[in-house]
């Protein structure tokens, strides 16, 4: 299940990463033949050696641009869910990783002003727009996430959504995706992986 808790009073410890953190750093190829527990022991081992041992459920990652670029391996997102990461916040994402994350119940927030958080050790995620708040009172907006993606992530991801759908109707095959989404998002939908400028 998702560790995501948008209650404004919950403070999340911050782990910082730079630009261009790729899928192979999150889920190294040499361990891809193993299950998520083993991959979890090696997550980010060359970039942030303490991370795999010391990350705790509810922590968040504040990363630079292009987080999750590279492979389609969804273990790159699954490993963060497995380790209890509540959310990733970055100015932009690899598009494939973006889809994978929500499919696995991991919320990604897109915020282009992360420099304002460079000295913060904790942040909280404020509803309803999922902006970021710091203890010093700074509040930063994040780009809106399409509602159907948020709902899916909060339900635990696509598999959980498909299961719910099976329980509620008997028409799964060929009758639409496992969740409801608007036919058109208009201009408000987030562009997976986008970054202004």
């Amino acid at each position: 299940m998702s560790q995501f808790d948008p209650t404004p009073t919950v403070w999340h410890k911050v782990w910082r990463l730079g630009d261009d953190v790729d899928t192979d750093a999150l889920a190294p190829g040499a361990y891809m033949q193993h299950g998520i527990e083993v991959i979890g022991q090696h997550c980010l081992e060359h970039l942030l050696p303490a991370f795999a041992q010391e990350v705790r459920p509810g922590d968040v990652i504040l990363a630079g641009r292009n987080f999750g670029i590279g492979s389609s391996r969804e273990q790159a997102a699954a490993v963060l869910v497995h380790l209890g990461v509540a959310a990733v916040i970055a100015p932009s994402y690899g598009g494939l990783f973006f889809r994978n994350a929500f499919n696995l119940g991991l919320v990604l927030l897109t915020c282009s002003q992360l420099d304002a958080l460079k000295d913060e050790e904790q942040v909280c995620l404020v509803e309803p727009d999922l902006s970021l708040r710091t203890k010093s009172g700074v509040q930063l907006p994040c780009e809106p996430v399409p509602e159907f993606l948020l709902q899916m992530a909060r339900a635990g991801g696509l598999l959980a959504s498909l299961k719910q759908r099976r329980l509620h109707c008997h028409c799964v095959p060929g009758s639409g995706p496992g969740f409801q989404h608007p036919q058109s998002s208009g201009g408000a939908a987030m562009d997976p992986g986008s970054s202004p400028g």
Binding site: D20, D24, A30, E74, G95, L96, N103, P146, G186, D191
Partner: protein, 425 residues
């Protein structure tokens, strides 16, 4: 009058059952082809399908390729591949290619990807299929489960960004150089998950395998898909595969972008392009070959869906014909598919490479995927593959440079990173 639509928009609209689609709109598309491999496929899909109690929506639209863990190097790999084989048999999947080569090349060579189709692949290099004028993109295993169960997928209609290449490529310069040039200019995520369309005389002049190289590395630019509009070259290739019965039924003239439908266009002159090189540890880390003339290499690797198709093998043979690789250099060649390998054998290309000292490796993902067959630490490698992320093809201290098959062969010949134009006969 209807708004101008790009090829990508036309394919998406047709798959979504709509007359037209607008950029930014989120739509649900019917999937024409779902391709996955031994790593992303059965071992992840089988347990989820069982958990759901669901069946595959349409087996005729599913292709399974065993390429990541074959040939099996240890018990863990054997278990993964056996699971895939058993599941394929149990499901009676009609399209299974076991140890025939790398998925993106194999699906193309067997005629599964055709102009106008909307396809998904359980692998990030799935934009390769766009070379055929299809809209093909990579997805993860859980999303593939959604496709396999429902036959549908959502997508946000992308912008179409034209990469227009005028002029003619010089000898010793190829599609890989075009792509490294574009990635260096726009960055690893520069395409921002939009659609790329490659246009212009230099693109039209490319063979299908070379077009596949262009589209393949759309992934490295962060594009969702990368397309070349179908033309006579596409048609001839599809004719030759013999796997496509309904070519005449395709409306080829409709499968083109309307004038004015591109959201942006970037122009390049192929005539002035020189061989490109990406230094460790990013495909976007473009450097001048001349600045690395003193960089000694240990391994020259011609492999992967990106860089070991028939054309790549021929490029390398052009450089190495009648010559030997430098002492101390290991030249490794892993042809992208058995079909490419057989053709290279028949025409003598492979013999040129082995005479030069090449070791021929199995036609599989091999060292590129880094799923076990990776290089030893401390080595300096020049590779025709797509990605040189730190730790991907070997330990973090393995230095991987990326170049074309011409550049890899020239570097193997001299033992140092070399501009192929300086050694071409």
């Amino acid at each position: 009058m209807a708004e101008a639509s790009s090829l990508a928009q036309k394919i998406i609209a047709r798959a979504a059952g709509l007359a037209s689609v607008r950029v930014g709109e989120i739509v649900t598309c019917q999937v024409d082809l779902a391709m996955f491999h031994d790593s992303s496929g059965p071992r992840r899909l089988k347990p989820m399908l069982e958990e759901l109690g669901s069946q595959i929506w349409d087996k005729s639209k599913v292709v399974l390729v065993m390429d990541h863990y074959v040939p099996e190097r240890d018990d863990a790999a054997r278990k993964i591949v056996r699971l895939a084989r058993d599941w394929a048999a149990e499901q009676k999947l009609p399209h299974v290619y076991d140890s025939q080569g790398i998925c993106h090349v194999v699906v193309a060579q067997h005629g599964h990807v055709r102009p106008g189709m909307l396809c998904v692949g359980g692998d990030s290099h799935s934009p390769t299929g766009g070379a055929f004028g299809a809209y093909m993109f990579g997805i993860g295993s859980t999303e593939m489960l959604g496709v396999v169960v429902t036959g549908e997928i959502w997508l946000r209609v992308p912008q179409t960004i034209a990469m227009h290449w005028s002029g003619t490529l010089a000898s010793g310069v190829c599609a890989k150089d075009m792509m490294l040039c574009m990635i260096q200019r726009f960055g690893m995520n520069g395409a921002n998950y939009q659609a790329l369309e490659f246009t212009g005389s230099a693109v039209r002049a490319l063979s299908m395998p070379e077009r596949m190289t262009l589209c393949n590395m759309g992934a490295e630019m962060g594009a969702q898909s990368a397309l070349v509009a179908p033309d006579g070259v596409t048609r001839q290739w599809l004719d030759q595969t013999g796997a496509v019965q309904d070519l005449a039924a395709l409306d080829w003239t409709a499968l083109q972008s309307d004038p004015g439908s591109f959201d942006a266009q970037h122009d390049f002159d192929a005539s002035t392009l020189s061989p490109q090189l990406a230094a460790p540890h990013s495909p976007a880390h473009g450097v001048a070959i001349a600045d690395h003339a003193a960089t000694r290499i240990d391994i020259a690797y011609i492999g992967a869906c990106t860089g070991a198709k028939l054309d790549d093998l021929r490029f390398a043979a052009q450089v190495l014909k009648g010559r030997k690789v430098a002492a101390g250099v290991q030249l490794l060649v892993a042809p992208a598919s058995l079909r490419d390998k057989a053709q290279a054998e028949m025409e003598g290309t492979l013999q040129v490479l082995t005479d030069a000292g090449a070791t021929v490796l199995p036609s599989a993902c091999g060292a590129c995927a880094g799923y076990g067959d990776s290089f030893a630490g401390g080595k300096t490698v020049i590779s025709s593959t797509a990605r040189n992320f730190k730790g991907r093809m070997g330990p973090p201290d393995t230095q991987v440079f990326l170049g074309s098959a011409y550049t890899v062969a020239a570097s193997a010949l001299r033992g140092y990173i070399t501009d192929p134009r300086t050694v071409m006969p």
